[in-house]
């Protein structure tokens, strides 16, 4: 469709003209989309992500999940620039192995979070363009969620959404899990089945309204028995 910009004041089409020198620069980053979400319960944690990998107007893959299993009790969700996600997870895996060999035990979720913070900060001046969320069980067996910014600032939360649809999901989670903006409601603790159902509903909503989210949903449920994975189809358009 021809826009009004192509037509000059008299109504005739404008001649093509050279607008002057323009600078094209190489950007080390790209935005590959994707949404990640983590919820912590009394004795479980859920990390969920969509599986669409996009760039600009194209979809590179419909089967590229963003949850990475780190240990038996910890899952990392990372979205943003896929190249940095891959490198970051490689470095974390190597550091986990080094820790296991030096200390003869697996890293706990809290320790992994602190380590990820320093790994991200070592790239303070040339950041990893990745939004990370760690979900897992802490030493007492309770659910823990740690959310990060691209340069390593982190804190422990009960629930967090990150990635392209995070601004749409976070208010919904604040309302349903945090009971914010609701008066006179009994604060019922979240059960595992209710949490899983909520995560599915929340991603279906995200896929409706965010172009970069869709295709399928990968849910990782972390309990003391281990990590259970589920795949649920989402809108493919």
């Amino acid at each position: 469709m021809l826009s009004a910009q192509n037509f000059g004041e008299s109504g005739k089409m404008k001649e093509y003209h050279y607008a002057g020198p323009t600078e094209h620069r190489f950007s080390p980053y790209a935005f590959n989309g994707g949404t990640v979400l983590a919820v912590a319960g009394e004795d479980f944690a859920i990390v969920a992500s969509d599986t669409r990998l996009s760039e600009g107007y194209s979809i590179h893959s419909r089967d590229s999940p963003k949850c990475y299993k780190l240990t038996d009790t910890t899952v990392l969700g990372c979205s943003g620039f896929h190249g940095d996600c891959l490198t970051l997870t490689k470095i974390i895996d190597a550091r986990l192995k080094m820790y296991k060999h030096s200390n003869n035990k697996t890293m706990t979720s809290g320790a992994i979070a602190a380590m990820l913070s320093t790994i991200l900060y070592s790239r303070r001046f040339f950041p990893y363009y990745v939004y990370n969320i760690i979900g897992g069980l802490d030493e007492q067996g309770k659910g823990a969620v740690y959310s990060f910014d691209p340069v390593g600032s982190y804190q422990r939360d009960t629930y967090k959404a990150g990635g392209s649809a995070s601004a749409m999901l976070q208010p919904l989670l604040d309302n349903q899990i945090g009971f914010k903006n609701m008066e006179g409601v009994e604060h019922v603790p979240l059960t595992k089945d209710k949490a899983v159902q909520l995560v599915k509903d929340v991603f279906v909503s995200a896929a409706e309204r965010d172009v970069y989210t869709g295709d399928a949903l990968r849910i990782c449920i972390v309990t003391k028995e281990g990590i259970e994975e589920q795949n649920i189809p989402l809108r493919k358009d």
């Binding site: 620069r25 980053y29 935005f31 600009g56 470095i91 001046f125 950041p127 340069v151 600032s153």
Partner: protein, 275 residues
């Protein structure tokens, strides 16, 4: 430099030299590159660009938005019975509110604490590093580090990376042999001792409230009230501050956490006639 050697500061001046030596390839050819920064801390720098402008230039590309957590109001003042420290708890990333429940105070030891304002990652990282150095000092010298020395350590860390785009506005508060101590340290390397400071984008509002209510012979209750008011009014007017007020009191026998109050409740209480 003696202090640098004792505190392991040598490694950071070594890196300073490497960053500006122009031979960026050296950073990746060393055989211990695969220790991944576990033995000495390494910082990667974008080639060719000056680091502080780099992130801003990336944000112009379509789709790529790297927003870092930011924004605060913190305040601290000395009075007859010690030091009161009050901070808000909001972290914003661009226009998005990343969290309303961030902890902006780091308890280095029971007699020393640091506040954080500016970039969340910078403050968290450097103050954790400061806590590590303070702990090492205690182990090596068998007495706790003074507030002046701790703030000097942080100040020197900031000077090592001056001009590279760090954003830190911190107050180091404690009680040592000299009595109550309060220092303001920022990313330019400014280090000031004083009776009252407020940092962050809401600091002007906090200064107005605390300056008008401050009395040297305040009771402890009055001081708590003043700290709460300062932060509450600042969060009311500044968009990038909010959440809840976390208040600490540094006394001769150590620090105590006084309260954590939601700002909306406080504002309703203070401005009853207005709504």
């Amino acid at each position: 430099m003696a202090l640098a050697a004792v505190c392991g500061g040598q490694s950071s001046s070594e890196h300073f030299g490497q960053l500006f030596s122009g031979k960026q390839a050296r950073l990746f050819d060393r055989p211990n590159h695969f220790s991944f920064g576990t033995k000495i801390q390494e910082f990667a720098v974008p080639v060719g660009n000056e680091p502080s402008g780099f992130l801003r230039s990336c944000n112009r590309e379509e789709g790529v938005r790297i927003d870092l957590n930011h924004g605060t109001t913190t305040l601290a003042f000395k009075f007859r019975h010690g030091v009161i420290v009050a901070v808000d708890s909001r972290a914003s990333a661009g226009n998005y509110l990343a969290s309303n429940d961030v902890n902006k105070v780091i308890e280095i030891n029971p007699y020393l604490l640091g506040t954080m304002s500016g970039s969340a990652a910078d403050c968290q990282y450097w103050e954790r590093l400061l806590a590590k150095e303070c702990r090492l000092y205690r182990l090596r010298n068998n007495h706790r580090i003074s507030v002046a020395a701790a703030s000097k350590l942080l100040c020197n860390m900031m000077l090592g990376y001056r001009g590279m785009g760090l954003s830190v506005g911190s107050m180091i508060c404690g009680w040592d042999k000299e009595g109550p101590g309060l220092y303001y340290v920022d990313d330019n390397g400014t280090r000031l001792s004083g009776r009252m400071f407020s940092t962050g984008c809401g600091n002007s509002y906090a200064y107005g409230v605390v300056d008008s209510g401050y009395k040297e012979d305040m009771t402890v209750e009055e001081a708590y009230e003043l700290g709460c008011r300062g932060i509450a009014h600042a969060t009311h007017r500044d968009a990038y501050s909010g959440g809840s007020v976390n208040m600490y009191h540094m006394r001769e026998d150590g620090l105590i956490k006084v309260c954590k109050e939601d700002v909306s409740e406080l504002i309703h209480r203070y401005r009853e006639g207005m709504f």
